[in-house]
């Protein structure tokens, strides 16, 4: 794992020099081809120390749920039926038979569990909580510690919150931890749902059928992803596949199983059914989809796709003001999804997340969704000195982020400066929403 990170770091530094940084990374570590399914070990690493005299006083957090099963029971069953049918018709190659046997072991363990948090995911959140209390022990020790946590209504988010808070409670049994999961939290925690009053029906979700980028993505897939060689490796006669299924669908199903194997819940190596090129092609397709959905795309859209996250960010700023003023809360934790983090990184103009690609082909080189892996999280740590000055430092997956804000002590920024910058960006996002139209109701 460490090797992968060194490579990624190198790739980022020499982005201009390397032709295909993502491909190389994936070649060295196939699991990265899983994109947002990537399970990072979030290895603890030393953090830049706070400036002298400053002590941590408050944490504001947004964490994606931990590792989960792939989120479609229908796909689990479709792959099962497809392979059963092929086996019955004696239409599988030896490699296909191997896939059939491996999947037959996996299927009973994963069926009906689409979207659930796995044990791997539970332990990820225990780990993040563990590192949080160990990094900022004084914030969580004592008799008057209070933590507020909220989660979306997704089962995996609630369970992530439970795992996280359980570890916190172990650290200090007298800690008061208040948790809530409710539709009342949804607008803020997932500002791409109808609970956000700014949103229109055709803006909703991650892959709304009205989204403007579908035709472009389909054209890209048609050009870049060729499922035929894969199908020929698995089926003796791909044309005899179960009716309604295609080579393209089969590749998609197997890619999803391969990508989520690292998330736990079942065993086996499913990457072996895809060549490196196929894995990379599927990665690029998926990566492009996420980039278009919530990333800094300017080729097809005008920013409306990420701008809704302002609703979350403004609430975070308001919460921060209130919590800093009262001093009652040690940490405010929020449990949600990747899309909120991805869009927030663009909203806050974060280095490494704010550059737009000049072509679809370029996207994978400058933006990779495996950097928002399972359990990805934003942590804003607030520090105060004796004079009452407040600094903030933001981390993505426990590594410091840089912002275009003037500071002698970067990655520590004055809270007033950071706040002003964030509000400016929030206004900018609102302006985008006011000057762009929701996608038309015609299905793309």
């Amino acid at each position: 794992m460490k090797k992968a990170f060194l490579l990624i770091a190198a790739a980022l530094l020499c982005a201009a020099a390397l032709a295909q940084p993502a491909r190389d990374a994936i070649e060295a570590n196939r699991e990265l081809a899983g994109g947002i399914y990537y399970v990072d070990d979030f290895s603890y690493r030393p953090q830049a120390p706070a400036p002298k005299g400053y002590k941590p006083v408050y944490i504001s957090h947004y964490g994606r749920h931990g590792a989960r099963y792939f989120d479609s029971n229908a796909e689990f069953t479709a792959l099962h039926n497809l392979l059963e049918d092929a086996a019955a018709k004696d239409n599988l190659t030896p490699l296909g038979k191997d896939l059939y046997e491996q999947y037959a072991k996996a299927w009973p363990l994963i069926r009906m569990r689409a979207g659930d948090l796995t044990d791997v995911g539970w332990n990820q959140h225990r780990g993040i909580a563990d590192r949080m209390v160990k990094s900022f022990p004084k914030l969580f020790k004592g008799k008057k510690v209070r933590v507020e946590a909220s989660s979306t209504i997704a089962t995996r988010c609630i369970m992530s919150m439970a795992a996280f808070c359980e570890r916190l409670q172990e650290f200090n049994p007298s800690m008061e931890i208040n948790t809530i999961s409710s539709a009342a939290c949804m607008g803020v925690l997932n500002p791409f749902t109808a609970y956000n009053p700014q949103i229109q029906p055709t803006d909703e979700g991650y892959a709304n059928k009205y989204a403007a980028w579908w035709p472009a993505l389909r054209a890209y897939s048609a050009k870049e992803v060729d499922p035929k060689p894969f199908a020929a490796r698995i089926f003796r006669d791909p044309s005899r596949m179960l009716e309604g299924e295609t080579a393209s669908k089969c590749l998609r199903y197997v890619y999803h199983i391969a990508a989520t194997r690292q998330c736990g819940g079942f065993e086996g190596d499913f990457w072996k059914y895809l060549t490196l090129d196929e894995a990379y092609a599927k990665f690029r397709e998926f990566n492009l989809k996420m980039y278009l959905s919530k990333g800094p795309d300017t080729l097809v859209q005008g920013g409306r796709q990420w701008a809704f996250v302002n609703y979350f960010m403004e609430q975070l700023v308001n919460d921060t003001d209130a919590d800093l003023a009262s001093g009652d809360i040690s940490a405010r934790l929020r449990f949600g999804h990747d899309i909120t983090i991805i869009s927030a990184l663009k909203l806050l103009d974060v280095e490494g997340w704010n550059v737009s690609a000049r072509s679809f082909d370029e996207v994978a080189d400058i933006w990779q969704h495996y950097r928002i892996p399972m359990g990805a999280n934003l942590q804003f740590i607030f520090y105060r000195n004796g004079k009452g000055d407040v600094l903030v430092r933001a981390m993505l997956n426990e590594r410091d982020l840089r912002f275009p804000i003037a500071s002698d002590t970067a990655p520590y920024y004055r809270w007033e400066d950071f706040r002003a910058f964030a509000m400016e960006r929030i206004d900018y996002a609102k302006h985008i929403l006011a000057t762009t139209k929701a996608p038309s109701k015609r299905k793309k």
Binding site: R113, A114, D116, T155, I158, A162, Q169, S181, A183
Partner: protein, 949 residues
């Protein structure tokens, strides 16, 4: 089981004075009226000590989530809307205005919180964990404790589980645990949810308002509640609510839920204490109906919880063997706890209540309050011996149908083996149901000579199923039509004890949910060519003013026997009778009803006989909430199902009831035994139409369809062209269109009528003349009908899709028309003083003596088919033929001389004026293809007499 129920019933019956027990409990603690919304602190636990030397070492539990917000935003919306409207209109009482103010203040606290676990619920679970920890300390103490927990995927269950563990770990921080939340757990934590794999569409029907329970529930509410008084306490004048009971129950629901919220506010003061108890009783009944032994859920609702019980047993075996799990927890919901307890035969949860008013004596919804918990605790003795179990609900001992060892302690082996059987029985039942979850109520076997027949259709008048390779059929049925019948397939006929009544149906008993088995035996018959004798409107009445009994026996029956004998040469012969076998007006008056008529009609009948019901086959002495069905009682008793079908020789014969009997109130003087005007609508009921659509659905477009019904569909004299409502006629046209052509055989009109209508091109309608002519009232030609035609038997011969028909009058052979030499008619009428006097009484009756009729030839061609052309030639030269509306003179004589003075215009009378008095006349009929189908030479003068041919 039976013995236990008897004991329980006995116990219930000796406690009549405690019938108010539930109401007393509510008076003592109004929050109990909240039922499943009740907040119980569980301080009233039995905590019966274990037998000496025994300690708990493992627990398996099912725990409901804690206090929650209401599940449906709609409850708040209904109240808000009504109060807001009332306020705007200024019709709220002071109490209503006060409620509105308090309600509006409360609303923001529940916005977007529907279904959430409430903060109180989290606290409850933390406290419950500590309570269970202390009650079963030996299980949870120490360093090596592992607790395995699963919840459904529903947020409040997951959050309850999380809160429980935070409470448990506060008691012993070394406890290891594994928490899992998933939809995959549903089958064995909450099988009632639609997402559970075991759950079927029928299970959803059983718990929603489209289920069979709902009408009875509403009726109970209407009887119990004082909704009007409640509305009047809040509104001056008519309350602005769509559904008053729903509104009151919504307010009650909100009031019940206040105890789960963080507020001190209470809305109990809106209700009278007695009304609170009544509202609880209704909601309690609802839970009983959905979760207990209420017959109309077919036992499926509680047997579906078998996987929960199975999980308890199977996992206990696993955990006891491995020793690795100290406690196994399931976090779920209220309904499944009730059905689990019902399945387990726990006292208070398994009783039947035919009288809804007694439900409250045993079933108390507040016993499944927030954070309700079922704990199966396992005990062992260091010195060895049996493992014992204790099963408690909220810490209170449950009485199970097992022999205990001591107090509430049972031998685990006994518990396990007893409930393994219970589980397997329930599972077998659930798995025996159809794919949509409905159990098979009707089943049986269709056979011929002992051999099974596959692919034969069997129906209950709602569903249609096919027999399998073993000749077996099985279907769900709510028995609403009261019959199960086989649709005889081509090449087979049902057995018949008397050779007349085909045994194609069985009557169902009135126990709607009880399964029944009915076999059908058929015999083979070659139907390559077969004949159908068709009669209608026999109108047998035994009246004293007409000779129907004698005329039927001496005139009509011999014709039927003759036709049957002739047709037998070609192949098998069957009969259909198209209704009005008797006449309800006279059932009581002449003590002769449909049963008597059927007996008379079928004396020595020569073939199998299939009947449909006519309007006069209904009982005019019946008017109920369901007149159409209830008035049919005698037809159903004597003859059988009102609608059904047969497949004969590759043809589909569909027998329908197209009379919707109303029998409305009337001020007119009524005959004895009659309570209404005997009115009826013409058409098919919704249920019958739905069955017809189902029957036709799988048929190929080239299927041959024949409809038999009493009232015709098409009516020439009506502007719409139909007797049926235009919309239904249009629907039938659309439904049948793809089959190209459908022959319709009907009666009712007492005339021979062949009708086609380009607006309804699929129907080729044959209206048959009445067997009885004009109901046997004419004289001397007793069987003459209103159109001047004669009572007859219609003989259809069918062979491989080809149909051919003959109309055989009783005494004059195949008679299509009658030719009149108007010269002799004129002479006859001018000589009759009687007929002259008749004309004086009614000037509309034609004056047949009028000179204009001299030399005219009239042809009454009742057998006219669409497109037929009547030619009248004199000495070989074609005369100009015109259609006239004068009444048939022979009919005039046979009808009006018997006390009537009516002018019945002729329908198919053609006239031509001959040039001579005696020249040879030829009447010729050509069909629409131009072929000559009939020729008759007329030698004039042709005599006119009352009995002429």
């Amino acid at each position: 089981m039976k013995r236990i129920l008897f004991i329980i019933a006995f116990l219930v019956s000796v406690q009549p004075l405690l019938a108010d027990g539930a109401y007393d409990e509510i008076r003592a603690d109004v929050n109990k009226a909240g039922g499943v919304l009740y907040v119980d602190d569980f301080s009233n636990r039995d905590l019966t000590p274990a037998p000496k030397g025994y300690q708990p070492f493992y627990i398996s539990a099912y725990i409901r989530h804690g206090s929650r917000f209401l599940i449906h935003e709609e409850d708040y919306a209904i109240i808000k809307k009504a109060l807001s409207k009332g306020h705007k209109a200024g019709i709220l009482t002071p109490k209503g205005e006060d409620f509105r103010r308090r309600f509006e203040a409360f609303l923001p606290t529940v916005e977007n919180r529907a279904g959430d676990l409430a903060p109180r619920g989290q606290r409850q679970h933390k406290a419950l964990a500590a309570m269970i920890y202390n009650d079963y300390k030996p299980v949870f103490k120490g360093k090596d404790v592992f607790v395995d927990a699963h919840s459904t995927h529903v947020g409040r269950a997951i959050m309850s589980m999380n809160a429980f563990f935070s409470g448990l770990k506060a008691c012993n921080k070394s406890i290891q645990s594994h928490q899992n939340a998933s939809m995959a757990n549903l089958d064995w934590i909450n099988p009632h949810m639609a997402e559970a794999e075991i759950n079927r569409p029928f299970d959803q029907t059983l718990r929603h308002n489209d289920g069979p329970w709902y009408p009875e529930f509403r009726k109970f509410c209407e009887g119990k509640l004082h909704t009007q008084a409640f509305l009047e306490s809040l509104f001056n004048g008519p309350a602005p609510v769509k559904d008053a009971i729903r509104f009151e129950r919504s307010v009650f629901e909100v009031a019940s839920n206040m105890q789960d919220m963080e507020t001190e506010e209470s809305f109990w003061d809106l209700f009278d204490p007695d009304e609170i108890a009544a509202l609880w009783e209704c909601e309690n009944l609802r839970f009983f109906m959905l979760k207990g032994r209420y017959p109309l859920n077919y036992t499926r609702n509680w047997k579906i919880s078998w996987p929960i019980l199975d999980n308890f047993l199977t996992k206990a075996d696993e955990d006891l063997a491995s020793g690795k799990v100290n406690a196994r927890l399931r976090f779920g919901h209220d309904g499944c706890m009730m059905t689990l307890l019902c399945l387990m035969g726990a006292k208070g949860w398994c009783e039947e209540h035919p009288d809804f008013n007694t439900v409250k004596e045993t079933w108390h919804s507040w016993n499944i309050p927030m954070a309700a918990n079922l704990v199966l605790a396992f005990y062992r003795n260091k010195k060895g011996g049996d493992i014992l179990v204790k099963f408690t609900l909220n810490g209170k001992n449950l009485t199970l149908p097992l022999e205990a060892v001591e107090g509430p302690y049972y031998r685990w082996d006994d518990f396990r083996s007893y409930y393994r059987d219970v589980t397997e029985d329930a599972r077998a039942f659930i798995e025996s149901c159809g794919p949509d979850g409905r159990p098979y109520i009707l089943s049986g076997r269709v056979s011929c000579d002992g051999k099974p027949l596959e692919g034969v259709k069997v129906s209950d008048g709602v569903n249609i199923v096919k027999t399998d390779a073993d000749g077996r059929y099985a279907m769900f049925s709510d028995k609403r039509q009261g019959f199960v019948f086989v649709i005889q397939p081509s090449g087979y006929v049902p057995l018949s004890a008397d050779g007349i009544k085909p045994e194609f149906y069985a009557r169902l008993n009135s126990d709607v949910t009880a399964p029944e088995v009915h076999d059908f035996r058929l015999r083979a018959e070659n139907q390559d060519t077969y004949t159908m004798l068709m009669t209608t409107d026999a109108h047998l009445t035994n009246a004293d003013f007409k000779p129907d009994q004698q005329a039927f026996r001496e005139i009509a029956r011999p014709n039927i026997l003759l036709q049957a004998e002739k047709a037998r040469e070609k192949g098998p012969v069957y009969s259909v009778e198209l209704g009005d076998l008797a006449h309800e007006l006279y059932w009581k008056q002449f003590d002769y009803n449909l049963r008597d008529a059927y007996r008379t009609f079928t004396e020595g009948y020569p073939t199998l006989l299939y009947c449909v019901s006519g309007n006069h086959d209904n009982d005019g002495g019946v008017r109920t909430a369901n007149t159409d069905r209830d008035a049919e009682w005698l037809f159903r008793e004597v003859i059988g199902p009102e609608y059904y079908a047969m497949e004969i020789g590759g043809d589909h014969w569909i027998m329908l009831d197209d009379v919707i009997y109303r029998n409305s109130k009337t001020k007119k003087k009524l005959n004895p035994g009659i309570v209404g005007d005997r009115s009826y609508d013409k058409g098919l009921t919704q249920g019958e139409m739905a069955w017809l659509i189902k029957y036709l659905e799988p048929l190929a477009d080239d299927s041959r369809i024949k409809l038999c019904l009493h009232v015709p569909i098409l009516a020439e004299e009506k502007e719409t062209g139909t007797y049926f409502r235009k919309s239904q006629a249009d629907s039938l046209q659309s439904l049948f269109a793809r089959f190209g052509k459908v022959e319709v055989f009907c009666g009712h009109v007492h005339k021979t009528l062949f009708t086609e209508d380009e607006r309804y091109p699929v129907f080729e309608q044959h209206a048959l003349p009445a067997l009885s002519g004009n109901m046997w009232t004419l004289s001397p030609v007793v069987t003459m009908g209103e159109d001047g035609g004669l009572g007859a038997v219609y003989v259809g011969t069918f062979s491989g899709g080809e149909s051919s028909f003959e109309l055989h009058s009783h005494e004059q052979g195949q008679k299509w028309l009658r030719i009149y030499d108007m010269n002799t008619v004129r002479s006859y009428f001018s000589k009759s003083a009687e007929l002259k006097a008749l004309r004086e009484k009614n000037h509309e009756i034609p004056d047949y003596t009028d000179p204009k009729y001299a030399n005219c030839i009239w042809v009454n061609y009742w057998y006219w088919h669409p497109g037929d052309i009547v030619e009248i030639l004199e000495n070989g030269r074609a005369l100009k033929v015109e259609k006239i509306t004068e009444m048939d003179p022979l009919f005039d004589v046979n009808y009006n001389l018997n006390g009537h003075h009516k002018n019945i215009p002729g329908r198919r009378i053609y006239s031509a004026k001959a040039r001579t008095r005696t020249g040879k006349v030829l009447v010729r009929i050509r069909n629409r293809e131009g072929e000559i189908v009939y020729e008759e030479a007329l030698k004039r003068p042709k005599a006119f007499s009352p009995v002429m041919q």
